[in-house]
Amino acid sequence: MSVVEPVFAGRVAWIFGDDFDVDLIIGVENIKYYDPDKLRSVCMQAFDPAFVTEVRPGDIVVGGRNFGYGHPHYPAMISLRNAGIVAVVAESYAPGFWRGELYQGMPLVTVPGISSVLQRWDDVEVDWKAATVRVARTGEVLQGTPPSAHAIEVTEAGGGLNLLRAQYGGGRAPAAAETVPAS
């Protein structure tokens, strides 16, 4: 069972450039905070102070090439998620970011060319498993690179930890020793 909708119908809340360092979403001075109120107060402040009030649950953000380059910390994307962002659509992802966010359960859609086609606040329909983006303004459907079966499984479970819990939680995982030695 998936905790993630198969298709997101939302708006393009922001379009980031190439090699974008996600820590800038909250500012590098805030990358160790997890408190939701703190994260809301700093989310996207350097880009658009009205962002958190204008964004609606179900909106997405768009990235250019190599989205997540640098040394990504988790709170930046958590702040976007708290604000209502449900997916990222980017031309490509930096591997460290991609792996880290997949673990966190954020749907990551790869669509080369996406950032030059969309405009802010475009209405879009994103089928994240098929990697398609329908743009209401133009009627165009952009086709990207679908995620692997494993990435779909992780995303549908709501992230790496949730998938592991679903598979092995409550019992004894494969890595557990067969017997507990007498001590």
Partner: protein, 421 residues
């Protein structure tokens, strides 16, 4: 069609005859490594017990723990964190290596990095172990998956081949090479791939330089970097190997997504502007020469090895660090520290006014000797994002040990070749 060294290592780790780029499968690492760090290992220990019923792991010899971060203040917080790690290691029969230096270096010294082996860590700089013909892959929080299931699902990466010719010119090293690669081919040139270094320039390169080069792979978007085993790496590993190993090599007809040829003799010192290592921030040293600095640092998992300490000593011998500059030299491991001491290098550095510290990660992350607002630092650390080494209002330039040592003498960024000639 043949296979790359990376494909061969993963095929073995996956129990498969062969693998192809893009294939997704579970791969069983030979070693699953972590350093203790708040929010990582303490959480993983708890999750393993509470969520997965793992009171004791089945294959303790595959788990490796290092204590190399937060080791320099000797306060209660450090002790509590490290005690949690020590206790978990004791209960599980897992080795905890502490007081030996930076894990990515100590892993090599202790013989974990054997040709043909597959090693994972949550930290991506484990790619440095590619110097030994091993595949080191930073899987971030998926390390938990490896620790819980014994394997981790990965997409088999394609490889980009870098054919190296010649030797580094005086005052130029592997650090200049990686920044040259990023500047020339892009910060995503090798995205989701492995960088494979081949050719006479690769064979000429010392182990130290190979480690430093491979450790920086992530800044081209690569998941790792690797050298095929040769006499140099085999000679190193044969002395320290902790298990039987079987070297594998790329086939002559292996497929690469791209091939580049680089003449090492033609490289010059590169400096990275504060922010990140991306292409647009990389400059020939001449372009930033004259920038005043207050801090200089040689160390990290991508530097601080004996060759970098020798380079610093060669430049500093009989001279003094510029007034107002704090120059921290941190050998990457205690073994390197002892060697540098035996060679008389640490005395030379101390007489010149450099501060030499015991091996740890703490200087690279701003935990020890943090930068103050307004400080400018020139560093061989792995990252120069704002706030990395202290204040978010400090600026970090990155370059080779030659560039850092020469700049520490001058009090401003200088071309090391001018000082050496």
């Amino acid at each position: 069609m043949g296979s790359t060294i990376t494909e061969k290592i993963l095929a073995r780790a996956g129990g498969l005859d062969r693998v192809r780029p893009g294939q997704n499968a579970p791969f069983r690492p030979d070693y699953m490594i972590a350093y203790d760090y708040p929010g990582y290992t303490d959480v993983m220990f708890r999750q393993m017990a509470d969520d997965f019923g793992i009171d004791r792991v089945k294959d303790p010899e595959r788990y490796v723990l290092f204590i190399d971060h937060m080791t320099t203040r000797n306060d209660e917080r450090e002790k509590q964190m490290h005690d949690v790690t020590r206790e978990w290691g004791r209960r599980n029969g897992v080795e905890v290596h502490e007081g030996m230096g930076i894990g990515h270096q100590v892993s090599a010294e202790l013989g974990y990095a054997m040709p043909g082996k597959f090693l994972v860590h949550f930290d991506g700089h484990v790619s440095g172990l590619g110097a030994f013909g091993a595949l080191g892959w930073g899987v971030r929080k998926d390390l938990l998956e490896a620790w819980v299931t014994g394997a981790v699902y990965l997409d088999v990466p394609a490889s980009t081949q870098f054919h190296l010719e010649g030797r580094f010119a005086e005052g130029v090293d592997n650090r200049d090479l990686i920044h040259h690669i990023i500047a020339s081919y892009g910060a995503d040139a090798c995205a989701h791939q492995v960088m494979e270094y081949v050719g006479p320039g690769a064979r000429n390169m010392t182990i130290d330089r190979r480690q430093g080069l491979c450790a920086m792979a992530m800044f081209t978007g690569a998941v790792s970097a690797i050298f095929n085993p040769d006499e140099k790496s085999l000679a190193y590993v044969e002395k320290v190997a902790r298990a039987p190993f079987e070297p594998v090599y790329s086939d002559p007809d292996a497929e690469y997504s791209a091939k580049y040829s680089i003449d090492l003799d033609a490289l010059s010192p590169q400096v990275v502007l504060p922010g990140s290592a991306k292409s647009a921030n990389t400059r020939p040293v001449e372009a930033v020469a004259g920038t005043e600095i207050q801090h200089a640092y040689i160390g990290s998992c991508a530097s601080g090895r004996i060759e970098e300490i020798r380079a610093a000593a060669e430049l500093l011998k009989g001279k003094k660090v510029a007034p107002g500059v704090q120059f921290n030299v941190v050998p990457t491991s205690q073994r390197i520290y002892a060697q540098a001491q035996a060679e008389g290098l640490l005395d030379i550095l101390a007489e010149a006014g450099a501060r030499v510290a015991g091996a740890s990660c703490d200087f690279c992350v701003g935990y020890a000797s943090p930068l103050k607002p307004g400080d400018k630092c020139v560093s061989t650390g792995v990252l120069n994002i704002s706030g990395r080494m202290g204040s978010t209002d400090a600026e970090i330039y990155m370059g080779s040990a030659y560039t850092v040592a020469a700049s520490a003498l001058a009090g401003r960024i200088v071309d090391p070749r001018e000082v050496m000639s």
